[in-house]
Each structure stands twice: as structure tokens, then as C-alpha cells.
Symmetry: C2
Subunit: 228 residues, 2 copies
């Protein structure tokens, strides 16, 4: 097997381990076992456990393919709703998605908050830089169109409030037995969307009008930077 391929396999296995057990809770032995290699070989590819972890975090900061189509949409109330809806839908799927890719990212992200926060900071900067402008532009358009009341001078904060709400929702659903059971789970996505859209200032009629439309399935996707 080539060195590069082996590296990737190790990184993939290690990501699973670190996401599930945190840095201190993960042993190099367990990573080697997960990658089906000896510990010796592991250390041929990565000089230390820390270096391996650092590389995983760095890798998670890269790339974000499917997000771009969202950001390419023209600013409008509709785009704003699609954005929020995509964000909510994306995070609510985290715990159910089969590949666990997003759950791993959420775990790494949360672990970072409890650690030095550096990884989380990078990711927040990335997310804010990517989605922030589109969010703000659409919110301004919505205000201009009379679909939203202007609230406060810091629309980006509103975006973060929305992000916080759904990220924490996903976090409560992460364990095998969820930490929190929401009432009427069927309508949860809709309820969360409404809460957020009202929170950022959209009017009731605008919310009702846009949420009752069907949304293109293409848009129910990413938001933690990089998609599944």
C-alpha cells in the first residue's frame, strides 16, 4: 500500500476515535487497531499523537463543496428562509446520518470549546465569512421588501443566535439516548425554523408564506463548513 493512502486511512480511523473519546480518552493503540495496523507503523506516519490530532483538526477546516450553491442565490426573503431551513435541516440530521461524518465534526467542534477553542474559532470564522454576508444581504432585502422588521444594528449576531440554537439542538441529540426529548418531534424542524425566523425579525405572514412552500431538496445541506 502507498504511503499516502495509508496516511488517509489512519487519519480517517483517528478522526473516529478522537471524535468519540476526545484527545485524552483516545489511545494510539486504539487508533492503530481502528486502522488495522501496528502502533509502530502509526508512528512512522505521524511523529506524535498530538501531531495526528492537529492534522485532523486542520483537515476539518478545509473545503466546502455543496455550500456554494446556497451562497450563489440572489439575496431575498426566500433565500433567507432557504438558508435557515437548510441550516435547521442539516443540524437535525446530524445524529441520524449514517456516515457519522457530521456527528464527528460536531464532537470535534464541541471538544474544542472545552479545550482552547482554537479549532472552533477557526471554524466560526470560516462559517461567518462564508454565510454571514449572504445572510446579511438577504435579511436587508427582506427588510426592504417589508417581510422583516429592522432589529438592531448587528445582523451577524442574529445569524449566530440562530446557529447556536440549532447546533445545541444537534448536541442534545448526539448521545445514543438523547439528552432532551422535544415535544411533537414531527413538527420540530418547522418549529425551530419559525422560532429563528421570528427571532431575526421576519413577519408572521412572510414566515408562513415561505415556510409553506416546498423547498428544493438540494438545499437541505451543509453549514458547519464542508458538507457530507
Amino acid at each position: 500500500m502507498t504511503s499516502d493512502l495509508r496516511r488517509e486511512l489512519i487519519l480517517s480511523a483517528a478522526k473516529r476515535c478522537f471524535a468519540r473519546n476526545g484527545f485524552a480518552g483516545t489511545t494510539t493503540k486504539s487508533v492503530a487497531a481502528a486502522a488495522s495496523i501496528s502502533e509502530g507503523l502509526l508512528f512512522k506516519h505521524f511523529p506524535t499523537k498530538s501531531a495526528l490530532y492537529a492534522e485532523i483538526l486542520a483537515e476539518e477546516c478545509e473545503a466546502d463543496p455543496a455550500l456554494n450553491k446556497l451562497l450563489g442565490l440572489a439575496p431575498s426573503t426566500e433565500t433567507l428562509v432557504v438558508l435557515v431551513r437548510g441550516m435547521v435541516g442539516h443540524f437535525l440530521q446530524v445524529s441520524h446520518a449514517p456516515d457519522q461524518e457530521e456527528a464527528q465534526r460536531l464532537r470535534l467542534m464541541t471538544n474544542s470549546h472545552l479545550d482552547d477553542g482554537e479549532f472552533a474559532r477557526l471554524l466560526y470564522e470560516k462559517i461567518g465569512g462564508l454565510i454571514g454576508p449572504a445572510f446579511i444581504a438577504s435579511l436587508e432585502q427582506a427588510i426592504a421588501a417589508g417581510d422583516a422588521s429592522p432589529v438592531g444594528r448587528e445582523p451577524l449576531n442574529l445569524f449566530w443566535f440562530a446557529h447556536h440554537t440549532v447546533l445545541m439542538m444537534a448536541l442534545t441529540q448526539l448521545p445514543a439516548v438523547p439528552c432532551l426529548t422535544y415535544a411533537e418531534a414531527a413538527g420540530l424542524e418547522r418549529q425551530a425554523c419559525e422560532f429563528i425566523l421570528r427571532g431575526i425579525g421576519l413577519t408572521e405572514p412572510a414566515i408562513a408564506a415561505h415556510l409553506d412552500r416546498e423547498v428544493s431538496p438540494d438545499f437541505g445541506l451543509p453549514v458547519t463548513a464542508e458538507s457530507a
Copy 2:
């Protein structure tokens, strides 16, 4: 020194260690050092490291003194605003509070989400059981008074959305270098309150009227169950 007092000192020291480093990242040696005793004595009081951790989590589920006055208030729009304002104020103080007591609780809570979630589940049940009814009653009163529009059939979910927003805000501010820097930090508390109050359905006039009032300093307190 009496056995009971020693126990308490150990628990307090251990809580600090576990909160900062998580379970796997904490050594019994470091706990003993933090409590200024030998490891031997530590194991005289607690049979295993796990038992010590379990006791800390169990202890965190107890008691909640200053919260009761909030819950004793008559249901009303005013009470609802006071409640939300208290919740926001409480969580925004978490990272700045000198005693770190609340920061520790937040760390334990977050760690639980990444673990089996059992501790978080207990705490959510407790919080929901305590504050939920008061929140719902006040929201219904607000609707009856015309201060809020009725939205959805599950008001408790709205409470959790609000809780999520502020808990995540606190989490981003936990590391020495915050993960996220909000625009216009001075007005942040106000902005978060407005976001939440709008989100749960309060009308703009009602929000403006109640948020512009001064709030009694007694109410800026707890919400994670048990106060500082």
C-alpha cells in the same frame, strides 16, 4: 479534620479538575494535589475514580435556592421577560464570574453531551420541570393579554430553543480566547433577549415596553438548576 469535611474538600477540588480536563484527562494524582492530600487518602474516601466522578455529577443535580423566587412570581408578560432576561444574563456571566462555579457546571454539562448524556438528561429534566411550567403559564398569560401571538402547540420547545441559544453563547465564551467575538458586545444581552422574545412570539411593542424597564437585580441569576 472530620471525614465529612474532607469529603467535601475533595469533591470541590475534583469538580474543578474534571470540569477543566474531562474524565479521561483528569488524574487522581492531580485531584489529590488540588485537594492538598495524598492519593492514599483520596482512595480512603472514594473507592474509584469513576465513583468520585459519579458523585460530582449526582451532587450537581441537587438543590436550587435562588431560583424559587423567580418561579413564585405570578404568570405574566413581565414575568416572562424577567425569566428570559435572567436566563440570558446568567449565561453571559458564566465566563466572567470569578468563582467559576457556573463555568464548571457548563463544562460538566457539555462533557456529558459528548459522553452518554445521562447527566445532561437529568439536568434538562430538572430544569424543564422547574422552569417549564412557569414559562408556559407566563407565555399563555402574555398571549391572553395580547402581548404575544400564539405560535405552535408546544411552548416548552420554545423554552428549549431559548435555552439552547444562550447556553451555546456561553460555551463560545468559555475558552480564555473566546471562540466567537460578537459585534457590539455592549448591547449583546439586549440583542439576545430580543431575539429570544421575538422567537417565542412576543410582539415588538411588548418587548420594547418590558425590556426598557429596569429589572430588579435579584432576578439576574440562575437557570442551570442551582445557582451560584
